[in-house]
Structure formats: structure tokens, C-alpha cells
């Protein structure tokens, strides 16, 4: 397994992303990962806030229409996240914080799917108040994304391979 990971890390593409001085290499991947984060966590938070009672004049059936943009952010981050992983695959693969982040994201995806199938698919969606199950799901979704963002940030500070002091 480690051989495979170090092969990834030493591949031409990963080396270019890691070592090129071009702004299109590592900096741009990080930038896209940040924009994707804003889209997936931000839009998800708004859907959750709407379920929790914010902006009640916006029908929930219409909030469904912003879901594709949330998933666009998700897939952008899945793609850029894979690139960021290959750049130092051998250290990320042994970092507990990395697995904590992945666990939060996996939970957030499951919760997003439950919200879509149990809350947003309800035929009487706009006719009756959201039940407590829906509200708990929305709350857990917010917590999961905050957890994923926190763990993602801590990757720069905790665990193996931490060489810099993050943003300072």
C-alpha cells in the first residue's frame, strides 16, 4: 500500500503540483478547494437553516433547486481533494486528522441524502411544518460541515508531516 502511495506522490503530475512555482499548480488547487468548500458547506448550511425555520417564505420545494450547485461544489472538492492527497499521499494516509475529516464528510453526505429523501421529497412539504426528525438532520448537517472544515484546517497543524506553522 505504501509503495502505491509513494508511487502516486512521486508521479509526474503530483511532483509538478507540489514543486512547480507556477500559480496554476499548488496555489490554484488550494484556491479551487476553498471555493468548493464555500459552495458545498455554504449552500448546505442555507438549506439546513431554511429547514430550521430561517426565511420561511422561501418554499422548501424551491430550495431543492439549489442542490445541484451544492453537489457541484462537492465534486469540485472531491477532485481537488484527490490532487491535494496525491501531493503528499504517504503522510496524509497516516494522519489521524485526515480520517477524521473524511468521516465528517462521509457523515455529511449521508445526512444530505437523508434530508433529500426524507425532508425535501415530502409531497406535503410546503403544507405542514417540518417534523423534529428533519430539524435534527439539518442541525447534524451543519455540525458535520463545521467538523470537516475544522479537521481540514487542523491537517496543517496536527499529525505527521507538519513542517510549517500553517498560515503564519
Amino acid at each position: 500500500m505504501m509503495d502505491f502511495l509513494s508511487g502516486l506522490e512521486q508521479s509526474g503530475f503530483a511532483t509538478w503540483v507540489r514543486e512547480s512555482n507556477s500559480l496554476f499548480a499548488y496555489p490554484s488547487v488550494l484556491f479551487l478547494h476553498t471555493v468548493g468548500m464555500g459552495f458545498v458547506a455554504g449552500i448546505s448550511a442555507l438549506i439546513d437553516l431554511r429547514i430550521l425555520g430561517c426565511a420561511p417564505e422561501v418554499p422548501l420545494s424551491d430550495m431543492r433547486r439549489v442542490l445541484p450547485y451544492m453537489w457541484a461544489g462537492f465534486w469540485l472538492n472531491a477532485a481537488t481533494g484527490i490532487v491535494l492527497f496525491t501531493v503528499d499521499a504517504t503522510t496524509k494516509a497516516v494522519s489521524p486528522v485526515f480520517y477524521v475529516k473524511m468521516a465528517f464528510i462521509a457523515m455529511a453526505v449521508v445526512v444530505a441524502w437523508l434530508i433529500k429523501s426524507q425532508v425535501l421529497r415530502d409531497g406535503l412539504l410546503n403544507k405542514r411544518p417540518i417534523d423534529s426528525n428533519g430539524k435534527i438532520l439539518a442541525f447534524v448537517s451543519i455540525l458535520c460541515w463545521m467538523g470537516a472544515i475544522t479537521a481540514g484546517r487542523l491537517l496543517a497543524y496536527i499529525g505527521p508531516g507538519v513542517v510549517s506553522s500553517g498560515g503564519k
Binding site: E57, V58, K168
Partner: protein, 312 residues
């Protein structure tokens, strides 16, 4: 930008907060006495615009300090006192700006602001005016000994001290990562609201009125407030890595432009009048699209700070 240019910017902007808040306060008094909602909204807009201008003013102060540090007759202690007095005034000014924005939002939402709100703006703006005038006066003394009164003691007695905040964050292991995490969470909230609200204007969720989406705006402004506070903490902790960073300067320009767009969506009737099914006018669509581009640009230059300018 060079230190000299940033010092220029500091000298150019430094009269705006005191004079601007003075004018806005005068107008606010008149509007309260004359019970004129239009004048109330006008003074709230001035409070908000001045609070936005205070951001580059505060940040350029560090460069102005570096530009004249060590020159004969320039007191380091006086500059530090000015910096701390300015920080206190700045904090009050930004809180006033945020509450003034909330009042403008409430004018839309309920057709009049909550009773506590205008009183809060009144009290906060008077306090801010006093604090800002004091900070400006201490700042003036740095290069104008003629205004210094006899027997002024040269010691920094401010209670909100930039140096103490910086040393706390520098010596506390979790502080910097925690502030960064909050900055990222604030970013997500801000971008999410900007995106969904502007999507309505652009026509994606057209069958819902703009007024319905307007209720989400405070969450975006909350995200902005979190990021302003955490951003200023970064700046206070390691100012030398930011003062001359061109990516940060561009980021600030884009933030101010995006702030103007937020005013458009809060104050102007045009987007507000969009009922269910209404197509937004071209102007509103251009402003909505530019808001999204501006915030993504803000994220770009924020992310590029370590890579462009190379001061990290």
C-alpha cells in the same frame, strides 16, 4: 503598494471616520427629530460606508508606522498609543456599521427598524465618534508637535492593547488554527448566502419573490462579521506579513466593491420589487453576477497571499 503609498493612503483616509461619523450623526439627529425615514436610512448608509472605509484606514496605519519609524522626533510609544486607541475606535465603528446595516435590513423586512436598533446605533455612533476623534488626535500628535499640550506623558495606557492580543495568539498553540477555522466557516456562510440570493436575481429560482430570499441576508452579514473580526486578529498578530502584500491589497479593494453591491441589495427598490415570477432587470443581474465574481475574487486573493507578493 510601497510603504510610502500606503502611508499616503492612511493620510488620505484618516479624516473620513471622524468627519463622516460627525456628518452622519448630525443627519441622524435631524432625522430622529423630524421623524423622517428617508433621512434615517441616509444616515445609516453613511455610517455603513464610513465603517467600510475604516478597514483600509486601520490596515494602512501599520505601513504608515513602518514608513516613519526611527525618524528623529517620531515617538514609538506615541505611535503604539495611537494604534491601540485606533483599534478600540475601529472595533466600535465596525459594530456600529453592522448594526446600522441590520437597521437598513429591518426597514425592508418590517418597514421600520426594531426599537432597540436605532437607539443602539445612536449610542454606539456617539461613543465611536468620541473614540475616533481621540485616536485621530493622538495620531496627529505623531507628526504635529504643535498640537501637543504641555506636559503630555509619553506612555501607552490603553486597555485594549494590540501587543497583548498578538502575544496571546502567538503563545497559545490553538489560537491561530482556531481563528483560521472560524475564518473558513465565515467564508462558507458568506459565499453560500451570496450565491443563493444572487441565484434568485439571476433567475434560477424565479418563482419566489426576492423579499423571501432577502431574509437570508443577515446570515451572510454574520459570516462577513466573523471574517472581519478574525481577519483583523490575523493582521494584529503578524502585521509585517500583511502590510505590503499586494494580494491582500487587491482582496481589500474587492471587499469594498462587494460591500457596495450589498448596499444595492439592501437599500434599492429595484431588486426588492421582484415578486414571484418576475424577471430581474439587466442592471440587477449584472450586479448579482458581479457580486459572485467579487467574492470568489476575494477568496482567490486571500488564498494567494502566501504565493503572490511572497511575504509569508
Amino acid at each position: 503598494m510601497s510603504l510610502a503609498n500606503l502611508a499616503h493612503l492612511h493620510l488620505l483616509l484618516n479624516h473620513f471616520p471622524t468627519i463622516g461619523f460627525g456628518i452622519a450623526l448630525g443627519l441622524f439627529f435631524v432625522s430622529l427629530a423630524g421623524k423622517s425615514d428617508d433621512l434615517k436610512r441616509a444616515s445609516l448608509v453613511i455610517f455603513l460606508v464610513i465603517a467600510l472605509l475604516a478597514i483600509p484606514l486601520y490596515m494602512s496605519g501599520k505601513a504608515a508606522e513602518q514608513a516613519i519609524a526611527g525618524r528623529p522626533g517620531v515617538s514609538e510609544t506615541l505611535m503604539e498609543t495611537h494604534q491601540d486607541a485606533a483599534l478600540l475606535a475601529f472595533v466600535f465603528m465596525e459594530i456600529t456599521g453592522l448594526i446600522a446595516w441590520l437597521a437598513l435590513w429591518q426597514f425592508r423586512r418590517f418597514s421600520h427598524p426594531a426599537r432597540w436598533n436605532l437607539s443602539a446605533v445612536l449610542v454606539l455612533s456617539i461613543v465611536t465618534f468620541g473614540l475616533m476623534a481621540r485616536a485621530a488626535n493622538i495620531g496627529g500628535e505623531i507628526r504635529h508637535p504643535e498640537i501637543t499640550s504641555e506636559g503630555t506623558v509619553d506612555s501607552d495606557t490603553e486597555w485594549l492593547k494590540s501587543a497583548s492580543i498578538a502575544s496571546f495568539i502567538n503563545t497559545t498553540a490553538w489560537a491561530w488554527p482556531a481563528i483560521e477555522t472560524l475564518h473558513f466557516i465565515g467564508l462558507s456562510l458568506l459565499l453560500g448566502v451570496a450565491f443563493v440570493v444572487n441565484l434568485r436575481v439571476l433567475g434560477v429560482v424565479k418563482n419566489v419573490s426576492f423579499a423571501a430570499f432577502h431574509r437570508m441576508l443577515p446570515w451572510g452579514v454574520l459570516g462577513f462579521g466573523v471574517n472581519l473580526a478574525t481577519g483583523v486578529l490575523f493582521f494584529i498578530t503578524v502585521p509585517e506579513q500583511y502590510t505590503q502584500n499586494i494580494a491582500l491589497h487587491l482582496k481589500m479593494v474587492l471587499i469594498l466593491l462587494a460591500g457596495v453591491n450589498v448596499l444595492y441589495f439592501t437599500v434599492f427598490d429595484e431588486p426588492w420589487a421582484l415578486g414571484p415570477g418576475d424577471d430581474a432587470p439587466l442592471k440587477a443581474k449584472i450586479i448579482a453576477a458581479s457580486t459572485l465574481v467579487l467574492w470568489i475574487g476575494v477568496i482567490y486573493f486571500g488564498r494567494m497571499m502566501p504565493f503572490i507578493g511572497g511575504s509569508f
